[in-house]
């Protein structure tokens, strides 16, 4: 596992920080710009409700330790959220400075500054209770939702064990975030804080099948499901089984863990969500001659955030709108071209192929990025846990499922949102589990 952490220098060089950290003095200048709003809109906009003015004013006053603890109190993954959050649509998007015709406060970078200062000084997560309780909680999946639930419960004195089928904890935070936003090693470093609290990690262990779930139920008082989403959707087109076709999450994981060698030739990415853009940018940075994003609808329909789209344009990604991939052609060794068809919007607003518009595009690698499927098989095995549209049904304020022993949060509940949403879900569930257990076993 250790070799996975040895980041290759060429990766580090090609994936420099998109938003470089603040120097100390610049951070204070920026912190002083914050108005310190009442009932701050940035705090309301944050799914974890980090008290933004509080931590920013602590940076301004020179109380960096207090700033970081304020962040961690609301969001135990404050360090990675500082880098990966789509702040444009969250805290910074809500900043009143917009109403002033001014730049919003650089909240994300200030949060990163506080968190990095905290780590540099050897800061640790505080306990929230001195009591040691005997109740045990299992968290299935070691992604952000489970980590947040685990930290909250362990801080309150409970015994938490986190299971994950992978060898490294962190889920998509470790394996699936563009390296120029969050380095794999930094994700692991943040999880060290949670390990230090005493949370047990059982990694490389897959919970699957009724037997293993029954064992889990026997060993643990409560179970938190934070399994996220499953495999990426398949394209279901001819030629898809060629080894030159690699889905976006796998591609991102491979380069982050050092498996991917430099990318050569022309790369075709299918889909225009945030993951598609992360993969396209990475392919370009790794040496692809050209990277094209194929999308069957138009610019107005993409699910990527606007700032992600603009970033992709800056990185030199080509967008082919109203273009659907129909087939992948290859010689024995490599993909040679992709076959596409033009789309149009008919009078009913539906997208349909234009007759006779088939064309070929040079392509040597195809990266599908058209979303992930839910982990239906596993979820179906959780006794009495009700699903709806492939998502676990929960009480939103507690995360409790229809089986009172099971709680859930993150992508498997919300359908696939951001790290910060998963953390919020996990924390709410952690608090609710603690209250429930404290009420049962006074």
């Amino acid at each position: 596992m250790q070799e996975l952490l040895q980041q290759k220098p060429e990766i580090a060089e090609k994936f420099g920080d998109l938003h470089p950290p603040f120097e100390a003095q610049a951070a204070v200048v920026e912190a002083n710009r914050c108005l310190n709003c009442f009932d701050a809109p940035c705090t309301s906009a944050c799914p974890t409700h980090i008290d933004v003015p509080k931590f920013i004013k602590r940076i301004a006053s020179g109380n960096l330790h207090g700033a970081a603890l304020g962040i961690l109190d609301a969001n135990v993954l404050g360090a990675s959220c500082a880098r990966v959050c789509p702040v444009d649509v969250l805290c910074e998007g809500a900043c009143v400075m917009h109403g002033f015709n001014e730049q919003p406060i650089d909240i994300g970078r200030l949060q990163r500054y506080a968190m990095e200062g905290f780590r540099a000084q050897g800061g640790k997560l505080p306990r929230k209770s001195d009591e040691n309780r005997s109740e045990k909680i299992a968290c299935i999946g070691a992604g952000p939702a489970s980590l947040a639930a685990a930290a909250e419960l362990q801080q309150r004195g409970f015994q938490v064990t986190v299971f994950d089928k992978r060898l490294l904890p962190g889920g998509l935070n470790t394996y699936g975030i563009a390296e120029y936003k969050l380095h794999l090693a930094d994700s692991l470093d943040e999880i060290e804080l949670i390990k230090e609290l005493g949370v047990e990690f059982r990694l490389g262990v897959e919970i699957f099948g009724e037997t293993s779930l029954a064992e889990l139920e026997a060993e643990f008082d409560m179970i938190f499901i934070g399994v996220g989403l499953g495999a990426m959707h398949r394209l279901s087109i001819p030629g898809e089984s060629h080894p030159g076709v690699i889905d976006a999450l796998q591609f991102i994981e491979d380069y982050k863990t050092g498996k991917t060698t430099p990318v050569e030739g022309n790369v075709v990415v299918v889909g225009a969500g945030n993951t598609a853009i992360d993969a396209a940018n990475a392919a370009k940075r790794l040496g692809a001659m050209s990277v094209s994003i194929l999308y069957r609808r138009t610019r107005d329909h993409i699910s990527a955030f606007d700032f992600e789209y603009r970033q992709a344009l800056q990185e030199g990604i080509h967008f082919l709108w109203l273009t659907e991939l129909m087939a992948i052609h290859s010689s024995a060794a490599e993909i040679t071209s992709v076959e596409c068809v033009r789309m149009e919007i008919d009078s009913d607003g539906l997208f349909k192929p234009v007759d006779g518009s088939t064309f070929h595009l040079e392509g040597n690698m195809v990266i599908p990025a058209i979303g992930q499927s839910p982990m239906l098989e596993l979820l179906a095995q959780c006794r009495d846990v009700q699903l709806e549209h492939g998502r676990v049904v929960v009480n939103r304020t507690t995360g409790q499922t229809t089986n009172p022993k099971y709680f859930a949060g993150g992508d498997c509940v919300n359908g696939g949102r951001e790290v910060v949403d998963a953390v919020a879900d996990g924390k709410r569930a952690g608090v609710a589990i603690a209250r429930l257990l404290e009420a049962i076993y006074v």
């Binding site: 204070v28 709003c37 009932d39 799914p47 002033f100 699910s303 606007d306 949102r417 949403d421």
Partner: protein, 471 residues
């Protein structure tokens, strides 16, 4: 014809000292040498008060410290530097040279010697022989020199100030300016003494006794001189309100009033205009020049000229002292005048600073109830700040995702109605606090409410009480 087409006349005659504009450099490091003062005159300064001359001293290393505020440097500045540490004859030789090369600018010799008639007579003679246009008696230096019976040790004892002023006047042929210390209970006492002693003019204020701060790593107060510190003279933007008050006090007192050179935190033309509106004939600047250099005078001249054009003032005398009658004692204020805060909804950015300030620092009459329904009345009727915040913190917020939530195209930022506070005018006391904390210009204004009561001062009301009319 544009109102800017005729340049106003900035020249002044200050107690007989002529100066092309009212901007003088105060006696301080920027006027330490002839070379500096000549560069300053080239930059546009109308006059300079030479760094105080007298018995030669030795200065410490280090000498200055400052305080920063909200990320801005040198909001306040402090020094423990003494008077000129150059030989008197060198200063006087350079003074003569400067006067010869720059005959139109005002060149004032600041003086401080031991408190004997002979010492003062000698130094007065020397300064005037060198060609000084006037003399400024430094009765204000608050550190070091005061321990030797000079500076503020003189300025804090009206009798000494009067006596030494009189000695100087026995000898002086040029106008004598007495520079006052603010480190005294009532600055008018010494101003009156100086006037009795025959002073032609005053300068105020000198620096204020201060300790600027303590290094929290070393626990060492600043500035550090080999592990010890000493109180210094405070200056810079922070002292301006104190200086304005003292200038007003002196200029409103017939027994003290003389031509006055205003000093204290002046860094820009607006500051200068304020000192002149309270009666100053010239202004003196030090700290701002120490920070930004001589060239700040360019905007001081230009800005003041443009403002005078806009206001229709042709000379400094046209507006000098115009604000003085507007300052009275508290007992003369109209108790039946009422203003209330008004929030301009179109300008409000929803920061809520006015709400916090009103609840915690004023009278709990700003509320965030535009959506839930306005309620007027006392504090008990309203949600408290902690309750408002708790409600938002317990709400569930998610990242808007286009694929899951449909079109989330960003609208131009509009402040939500729920975030625009509302003033309960029945409870508002018109204290101004909200309008002061509001970060948006002209968003919160204080609007007069007609009380339909005749003007009544405290003095009138208490007199009515005494006569049993009403209370």
């Amino acid at each position: 014809m544009s109102k800017y087409s005729v340049k106003p006349n900035l020249s002044v005659n200050f107690a007989g000292i002529h100066s092309p504009n009212p901007f003088w450099l105060a006696s301080a490091p920027p006027t330490n040498t002839g070379e500096q003062i000549m560069r300053a005159f080239d930059a546009g300064w109308g006059g300079a008060v030479w760094k105080t001359m007298g018995a030669q001293v030795t200065n410490t290393s280090s000498r200055y410290s400052s305080i920063n505020w909200g990320g801005q440097r040198m909001m306040g500045f402090s020094n423990i530097e003494l008077i000129s540490d150059r030989p008197l004859d060198v200063n006087l030789r350079e003074l003569a040279e400067v006067k010869k090369r720059y005959p139109k600018q005002a060149l004032i010799a600041s003086l401080m010697v031991e408190s004997t008639r002979e010492a003062w007579h000698t130094v007065v003679q020397q300064a005037e022989d060198a060609g000084a246009d006037g003399l400024e008696l430094n009765f204000g230096c608050p550190h070091g020199m005061s321990e030797r019976g000079m500076g503020s040790a003189v300025g804090q004892v009206p009798e000494y100030a009067e006596m030494i002023t009189a000695w100087v006047k026995e000898k002086a042929r040029t106008p004598v300016i007495v520079k006052l210390t603010p480190n005294i209970t009532d600055i008018r006492e010494v101003a009156r003494a100086a006037k009795r002693g025959g002073a032609d003019a005053l300068a105020a204020i000198n620096t204020i006794n201060s300790i600027t701060g303590i290094d929290l790593d070393t626990l060492m107060p600043q500035p550090n001189v080999d592990g010890r510190s000493s109180h210094g003279g405070y200056s810079g933007p922070a002292v301006k309100p104190i200086a304005l008050n003292m200038v007003q006090q002196v200029m409103s007192d017939p027994e003290a009033m003389l031509p006055l050179s205003g000093i204290g935190g002046i860094a820009a033309w607006k500051d200068a205009a304020e000192f002149i509106l309270l009666g100053s004939g010239t202004v003196q600047v030090c700290t701002a020049v120490m920070r930004f250099g001589y060239r700040i005078v360019e905007d001081m001249i230009d800005g003041l000229e443009n403002w005078m054009c806009e206001k229709g003032f042709h000379s400094i005398e046209d507006f000098r002292g115009l604000s003085l009658p507007k300052v009275t004692e508290w007992k003369d204020l109209n108790l039946n005048y009422k203003v209330v805060a008004h929030i301009d909804e179109a300008k409000c950015i929803g920061c809520g600073l006015c709400y916090t300030a009103c609840w915690d620092g004023a009278h709990q009459c700003i509320h965030v109830d535009r959506v839930s329904g306005a309620v007027n009345g006392p504090i008990e009727l309203h949600a408290k700040p902690t309750e408002v915040e708790a409600a938002s913190r317990s709400s569930i917020t998610v990242t808007p995702i286009p694929k899951l939530d449909g079109d989330i195209a960003r609208q131009p930022y509009v402040t939500p109605l729920a975030r625009i506070p509302r003033v309960d005018e029945t409870e508002c006391v018109g204290c101004n606090l909200c309008s002061l904390v509001c970060p948006v210009d002209a968003c919160i204004t204080m609007v007069e409410v007609k009380t339909h009561l005749p003007a009544e001062t405290w003095e009138e009301r208490s007199a009515a009480c005494l006569t049993g009319e009403s209370c």
